[in-house]
């Protein structure tokens, strides 16, 4: 998954169009419940099953896309 695809998931889950590659999910109002939606959407899109710790380490679309690439 590339950065744009992850950004799209953030936009949909946060219901916020102003997501860029370095938007921090948890600063933009994301919480652990909404985080489960992001993790499910990523798993569905590319099969990579990340967890909360992975997301906390990489809370932006840019960092998350890198993490997914490293685990795929």
């Amino acid at each position: 998954m590339n950065v744009d695809a992850v950004s799209d998931i953030f936009r949909r889950v946060l219901e916020n169009a102003e997501v860029s590659a370095d938007s921090d999910f948890f600063v933009m109002g994301g919480d652990s419940l909404l985080a489960t939606r992001v993790l499910s959407a990523i798993a569905r899109a590319c099969g990579v099953e990340l967890d909360f710790d992975d997301f906390a380490d990489a809370p932006t679309p840019g960092a998350l896309a890198k993490k997914i690439a490293s685990m795929a």
Binding site: V13, E15, N16, V27, G29, G30, D31, S32, L33, L34, A35, T36, R37, L39, S40, A43, R44, E49, L50, D51, F52, D53, F55
Partner: protein
């Protein structure tokens, strides 16, 4: 139906006597038998000594914390969980407000405030050496526990001795310590074993944080029924795929989830067209209103064989007081599917509960499950625990602050709060407590905290007015880190917005909802 007083520690010891070799706790695939857990509990109680007073326990999701809980109760002490994730000043304040004299940490070397004595948890291997499944070769299966037990049985406990102290949100910024007596715990645990229909064949997932009372409704009915309590990291990973695989592999039969988390599970199941593991027979939800749309989705899945039970209760009335089967084999049939806008009932009073609808439709709860009150807070206790006479003499009732109505079949429906309290993922939050904390920041001039519904669950939104215009830059981030250093995460708003002024009511009070309405769109 009544539950004569039989202490929960005795109910556990009886279960251990009946099922010494069955698994009591499974943790990431490793299990501890009832005989082993019983031996660990007794060793913990001996280490604490008789009547140790309030015992702080630094919690973790582990068998060790369960041994501390049961060991404290077996010694005649009062359990008080201490969340290691709380900021240090908060932990100290809670220990002091609870009157904690001893602290047990599963890992040695925990820092404790002056005046509090640290106690090491007895080593599990040492405590359980004579209780392993193979001890039957050398001794009758219950001999060791009977001998060890005799010393403990000498600690007399009464139904009104305090069992645990937990905190609820208080408007002054200080949390209120709720003291729950042993009789309330044993009564409710008995009622929940019946409600859940637990048998030794059950395997119950331990999901709730060990710092909130919901964990007791998972732990205590299970361990007094001879069933297995299952801890597994995959349950808390945030990945529903991993969680569902784990439920299947661990053959979990019972889940007890916060409603908001269950909403996300339903969404996941629908979007993935995933099936629920066949082992599941009961899903208990509670803590927040059930969303009727998610409920309709659940009913449309292959869930007819699974009991879905909605529950309601307050810390002050001990775990669960009301419940109803919403779907599955014991649920009343419905003519039409659930639709958006309908109110999903919170249920009928359990057999031990007396209920009364007071002024403004406020639910009052009486009976043997009431807490003793708020420790050290006679004013707050008198305000919420009231004596009323409904014809049979004065009786003690707890004013829940919840407005309720009734469905035609007598189940209660929640219609709102009489005060400003919010439920944030099942935890009661008084917005005034959060405001009091935020107002302590030197650059904050005024603040309003409101509940905001985001994606099926309630979150906190804070609106702050800077004390001076020069302080605006990065104030929201600054307040965020200020809060994270002082309060637990459920009191940290998920959105903090700096605004020029708050909205006030005609009488000059801050209008929380009005401030939220004016600025909510700007916050997104």
């Amino acid at each position: 139906m009544s539950y004569p007083y039989c202490d929960v520690t005795k109910a556990f010891a009886d279960a251990a006597g009946r099922h010494p070799d069955r698994p009591a706790i499974a943790h990431n695939g490793r299990s501890l038998t009832y005989a082993e857990l019983d031996a660990w509990v007794r060793a913990t109680a001996r280490r604490l000594g008789p009547r140790p007073g309030v015992v702080g326990v630094v919690t973790s999701r582990s068998a060790a914390t369960v041994a501390c809980l049961l060991g404290t109760l077996a010694a005649g002490g009062t359990y008080c969980p201490i969340d290691p994730a709380h900021p240090e000043p908060r932990r100290r304040a809670l220990m002091s407000a609870s009157g904690c004299r001893l602290v047990i940490a599963a890992e040695p070397g925990a820092s404790v405030p002056p005046g509090v004595r640290p106690v090491d948890l007895p080593d599990r291997a040492e405590a359980t050496r004579n209780a392993g499944p193979d001890r039957a070769d050398s001794a009758p299966s219950s001999a060791s526990s009977r001998v060890a037990g005799s010393a403990l049985d000498a600690v007399p406990v009464a139904a009104d001795d305090p069992a645990y102290i937990l905190f609820t949100s208080g408007s002054t910024g200080e949390p209120k310590p709720v003291v729950t007596p042993r009789g309330a715990v044993s009564t409710v645990v008995g009622a929940l074993r019946d409600l859940f229909g637990l048998t030794p064949a059950d395997r119950v997932l331990q999901f709730a944080s060990l710092n909130w009372d919901t964990c007791f409704e998972e732990i205590l009915p299970t361990l007094t029924a001879g069933a297995a309590l299952v801890f597994h990291d995959d349950a808390y990973s945030g990945s529903f795929r991993r969680m569902l695989r784990m439920i299947d592999a661990e053959r979990i039969t019972v889940l007890d989830l916060p409603s908001a988390f269950w909403h996300e599970l339903v969404r996941h199941l629908v979007e993935e067209r995933a099936a629920l593991p066949a082992s599941l027979r009961l899903v208990v939800v509670g803590g927040e209103a059930v969303n009727p749309v998610r409920l309709a989705d659940w009913c449309a899945l292959d869930t007819a064989a699974i009991r879905l039970v909605n529950t309601y209760g307050c810390t002050e009335t001990t775990l669960i007081t009301h419940a109803v089967d919403l779907h599955g084999p014991l649920a009343a049939r419905r003519a039409a599917p659930w639709r958006a806008g309908e109110r999903v009932p919170i249920g009928h009073a359990l057999p031990h509960v007396r209920q009364h609808l007071g002024e403004g439709g406020e639910l009052l709860v009486g009976g043997p499950s009431l807490a003793l009150g708020y420790r050290g807070r006679p004013d707050a206790t008198a305000e919420r625990f009231v004596e009323i006479d409904l014809g049979a003499g004065p009786e003690r009732y707890f004013r829940t602050g919840d407005r309720v109505g009734r469905t035609p079949d007598g189940a209660l429906v929640h219609e709102g709060r009489l005060d400003h309290e919010l439920k944030v993922r099942g935890v009661r939050v008084d917005p005034a407590e959060v405001e009091a904390q935020i107002a302590g920041h030197p650059q904050v001039g005024a603040v309003a905290v409101a509940g905001a519904v985001v994606a099926d669950h309630t979150t906190l939104a804070a609106y702050i007015v800077p004390r001076s215009p020069s302080g605006v830059v990065a104030l929201a981030d600054d307040v965020l880190s200020y809060l994270r250093d002082r309060v637990p995460s459920h009191l940290v708003p998920s959105r903090i917005t700096v605004v020029p002024e708050l909205v006030y009511t005609a009488s000059g009070k801050v209008d929380r909802a009005g401030s939220h309405r004016r600025y909510a769109s700007a916050a997104v």
